[in-house]
C-alpha cells in the first residue's frame, strides 16, 4: 500500500508540475510578427503532411 500511495502522490505531483509549466509558458515571449506567424504556420502544415504520410504508410502496411 505505501508503494501505491507513493506512486499516486508522484503522479499527482508531476501533473501539478505540468500544469505549472503550462501556466508559466502560456504566452510566447517572442513577438508574433508576420514572418514568425508564417514560419509557425508552415511548420504546422509540414508536420501535418508528415504525420499524414506516416499514417498512410502505417495503413498500407497493415492492409497487406
Amino acid at each position: 500500500m505505501p508503494i501505491a500511495h507513493a506512486l499516486r502522490s508522484l503522479f499527482a505531483g508531476n501533473l501539478e508540475k505540468i500544469r505549472d509549466i503550462n501556466r508559466k509558458y502560456a504566452t510566447p515571449r517572442i513577438t508574433m510578427s508576420l514572418p514568425v506567424r508564417l514560419a509557425l504556420l508552415a511548420l504546422r502544415v509540414y508536420l501535418l503532411v508528415l504525420v499524414g504520410l506516416l499514417a498512410y504508410k502505417f495503413i498500407v502496411t497493415l492492409s497487406r
Binding site: I21, A39, L43
Partner: protein
Amino acid sequence: MNFITKCYYLFRRVWKSVSLYFMLAGPGLVVMIADNDAGGITTYAATGAKYGYHLIWFLLVLIPVAYYVQEMTVRLGAVTKRGHAEAIFDGFGSFWGWFSLLDLMLVDWLTLVTEFIGMTAAMRIFGVPEWLTVLAVCLLMGFMVLNGRYWTWEKIALGFCLLNLIYIPAAFLVHPPLGRILADGVLPNFPGGFNGEMFFFLMANIGTTIAPWMLFFQQSSVVDKGMREKDIPWGRFDTWTGAIITVVVAIFIVVLTGTILHGVDIDDAAQASVLVMQTNKYAGAMMAIGLFDAGLLGAICISLASSWAFGEIFGWAHSLNTKIKEAPWFYVSYFFTLVTAGLVVLIPGAPLVLITLFVQVVAVTLLPAALVFLILLLNDRETMGEYCNSRIQNVIGGVIIATIIVLSTCYGISALFPALFT
C-alpha cells in the same frame, strides 16, 4: 637579448591562449565528433564503398554547414543561459515546447538504441557477447556522470573523441592512392549522373551531419559549462575545430572503404569492418574499434541531451556538477533512457532494422522545428542584443537551414517509400 625577450613573451601569450582554449574547449568538439556516431560511420562506409572517392567534395561542403548551425546554439546558450528546450518553451509557448521536448525524447531514445546496435555489432567482431557490451557501456557511462563534475565528464568524453581519429591510421594502412583521391574527390562530380540513388546518398550524408539532438546538446552543454558572452569567440573556434575534425574523420572512412570495398554494397559499418579485415586485419579491427567508439560517443551525448532538456523544463537540478542526491531526477532520467535503450538490443528478435528506419522518419519531424526555432530565437533582438543574427548570418543560416530541411525531409520520406528514390 631583445629578440629573446620578445620570443619569450610571444611564447607566454600563445601558451596562455592555448591553455585558455583547453579550459573552454569541449562542447563544440564533443558534439561535432559525436556526430560521427554509429549511424554516421555506416553512412560514410557505404558512401565510400558505393562511390569510391567521388563524394569527398560533398563532405568538405558539410564543414561550414555544420559550423553555421551549431554556432548559433553557442551564442544562444551563452547569452540566454538556457538550454534549447527551455528557450523554445519560453519563446514559443507550451504547445511547441511540449512538442519539441517529447519528440526529442523519442528521437533520442531511438537513436540511442541504434548506438547500442552499432556498439554490440562492433564488439561481436571481437567475440564479446551483446549483454557484456551493454553492461560495460552502462557502467562506464554511469561512472562518467556520477563523479559529480562537468569538467571530468568532458575530459573523458574528449578522450573518446581522440579515439575517433583511429580511422586516420586505419586508412593509411590500406595505402590509398593519393593522386586518385585528389583527382576523383576534390572537384564536385556525380559518378554515374545525378540519379535517385545518388540523391539518397547525399541526403543520408546531410542527415547524419545535422541531427536534432546536436542542437539541444550543445546549447545545454554551453550552459552547464558556464560559458558567457565573452567566451563566444572560443566557442566558435571550438565548433570550427570540431566541424573540421568530424569531416576529416568522415573523409578517412570514405577513403578506407573506397580503397578496399569500392563496388561492394554495404548494409552496416560492422559488415564493412569484417570485409576490410579480409584484406587488412589491422585496418578492419581499427574500423570496428572506431565503430564502437562512435556508438559510445553518440550514446554519451544523446542520453545527456534528453536529461538536460527535461531538467530545464521541470525545474529539476540538471547539472553534471551536482551529486546524485542533489539532482535525483536528472540522473534517474539519464539512466532510464540508457538502460532501456540497451535492453532493447538484448531482446531476441527485436525489430532493430525497423527501429533504425524509424529514427530517420521521427528525426525529420523534430529537426525542421528545432532549426526554425533556432533562427527565430537568434533574431530576437530583445534577448540577444548585440549577439543577434546579422543580415548576412540570416541569409547564410536561412539557406543552410532550408536546404537541410528539404534534404532531410526527402531522406525521411525515402525511408518510408524507398521506391521513390531508386
